[in-house]
Symmetry: C2
């Protein structure tokens, strides 16, 4: 068992705990910054480390295409290649094959797709994806899955889920065959689209395979917030409580609070860094855009009390100037702010759980955050 429960909130499923992984212990609930190409965009890994993050995410699809697995293998893995000594979780590429590749053909045996970069053709199987992530030396690796869009007819959703389940079983066998030489953990992924019975069936099947941890995929893909909350709660019902649970692709305060309230331990999202590069930054009163003219003469920081370099060194007026002149430093500082902000938010969430006041903290925080 890699998960240790520390404290369960008295009034919700929210819980604090820790996940033991080859590159150290992760205190949960935890947000993971996304480093698609083996770099969290516009930030040094050293800065990510100084913020206190102990696990980041890398994208198998992107790294497989560039620089290619042979390169990263020659360096002894993604940690050495990218100079990051803490944990790395890699996704399986399933979502990117679904959302980025210019052509894809899914068969029971595997998936064929064309690269969005150069149109080159590639074939992946669940076994090969386990092997690739082993070469990346991922601390947590994910099973190849079939991702589906919302509003898919049930028949197709069922077919995709059945293939996902078969691939999960095959991935687990492949992963077990490497147990002598590879310490990374394999997580299964629950799918089932937005059909209650399929979600339940998928959660039960994935739970039955006894992975070290379980992820919930196919949420936050465009559905209304209430649908997200409903399917999240329902899926968790069928999952074990002694394993780390991961919701893929969420990273705004309201989605994070909802996930934590349902007992989710880890999550990731590109939103914090992508929106930062567009000049949008987290504050206790919601997202604000640095480019707005209201910031022009504002000598105050983005967020009073924030410990990041942007808030302790620079004013909103200077930040606005950087974005108006398209200076790279704007992206660097806003990215540092947003990830610092989320790290501090997760710290506060963990403290609130340990004090049995998570639901109170959630209400207080979101009422300020959402009232602009």
């Amino acid at each position: 068992m890699i998960y240790t429960l520390n404290h369960k909130d008295a009034h919700s499923k929210a819980r604090t705990g820790s996940i033991r992984l080859p590159h150290g212990v992760v205190q949960t609930p935890a947000f993971m910054p996304v480093g698609t190409n083996g770099t969290v965009k516009a930030l040094h890994h050293q800065t990510i480390e100084e913020m206190g993050y102990s696990m980041i995410l890398g994208n198998t699809y992107h790294l497989y295409l560039r620089p290619g697995i042979e390169v990263i293998k020659a360096y002894g893995g993604l940690h050495q290649f990218s100079s990051w000594d803490h944990n790395i979780l890699t996704d399986s590429g399933g979502f990117q094959i679904f959302s980025l590749a210019t052509f894809r053909k899914i068969r029971e045996e595997g998936v064929t797709f064309r690269s969005h970069i150069d149109g080159s053709s590639h074939h992946l199987t669940p076994e090969k994806v386990v092997e690739i992530q082993r070469y990346l030396n991922s601390d947590i690796q994910m099973c190849l899955d079939v991702c589906t869009p919302p509003d898919l007819p049930k028949k197709e959703a069922l077919k995709a889920m059945r293939i996902t389940h078969d691939w999960a079983r095959r991935a687990k066998s492949a992963w077990e065959s490497y147990s002598d030489t590879y310490e990374g953990k394999l997580f299964g992924i629950v799918q089932g689209n937005f059909y209650e019975d399929l979600r339940k069936e998928s959660a039960e099947y994935i739970a039955s395979l006894d992975f070290p941890g379980i992820a919930i995929g196919g949420l936050s893909v465009g559905e209304p917030f209430n649908t997200y909350a409903e399917f999240l709660a329902m899926t968790v019902e069928s999952l074990p409580s002694d394993k780390p649970l991961y919701v893929m692709g969420i990273g705004t305060p309201s989605y994070i609070f909802e996930a934590v309230e349902n007992g989710i331990d880890i999550f990731d999202c590109v939103f914090a860094t992508r929106t930062a590069r567009n000049g949008s930054v987290f504050t206790d009163h919601g997202l604000i855009n640095m480019k707005k003219v209201i910031n022009e003469f504002d000598q105050g920081p983005i967020q009073e009390g924030c410990t990041c370099r942007a808030c302790t060194t620079y004013s909103k007026g200077y930040m606005r100037h950087l974005f108006k002149t398209n200076e790279i430093l704007g992206a660097m500082l806003a990215s540092e702010h947003n990830l610092t902000y989320l790290h501090n938010l997760m710290h506060n969430i963990r403290m609130s759980i340990e004090a049995d006041r998570f639901t109170e903290y959630k209400r207080e925080y979101l009422s300020a955050y959402e009232r602009k």
Copy 2:
């Protein structure tokens, strides 16, 4: 007098010394990183400070257009606005009006031009440019000058020079009128295009105005290296030796060595940071481009022995990957390397002068640098 001579090389005009300025002392000869918009592109000012730089450059033309002088004035100057506590030299905008503005009309009284950003019309006089740089609180500010292209007919070059001289005289009067409230130093600029008699006349006239320091403009604008060297040497002949001398717009090793050999104390150039953003980095064996396939599996640093974060943390293979995937971290690391490299080069140059072996060091360095 703001310049103190420390040591003159026994075999050339090269010299070490220091310039006393409102935000500290600058050890010379010194290279100045360029921070066009009040930020050295892709770097924190803290990083520039840690490298050891004590003076950076800002562009009056850019800052006047964005964020505008009213904004920077409200912050109390460019140091506070951009969080840089060391010296700032600002150019006058003359070169940018010549090279960037979409329309310009120069009269004896001043210059009218259109912004390259939004086409808006602006009028500047030598007096107004002094006032603008006073609001920026520049430690060294430059006179407005008329910049001319190579191959200009002599009659026009003469006319431009005469206006530059008249503007220099007017700028000095304006600057002197602020002496009670502003500590920054005004430098005159020698022009005269590539006509020997005009260069000589310009150097003598600018020297006669008794500025705290003197700059040489209109070099490294496309002329052959030998022409640069010839006009540099000739211009310096007519300049005083007790004032800091500045060649504007140079920043590659061969141009730097040539300037230092002629007794030049400071210089600036965008080359180091601009070329870094394109993936080109300084090494002891010349510029190399990180994108080349030869770097793919290379686990060594850009330059053995370099103290920058790129060289102490990352491999050439990872740097190549960052540039191939257009990651911002590539620009950040290459910029940090190139400015660290130039700072270390200037340190070595100063040491060689103090040991009376500058010409030897120049020959050794350039023979390795230029032999690819």
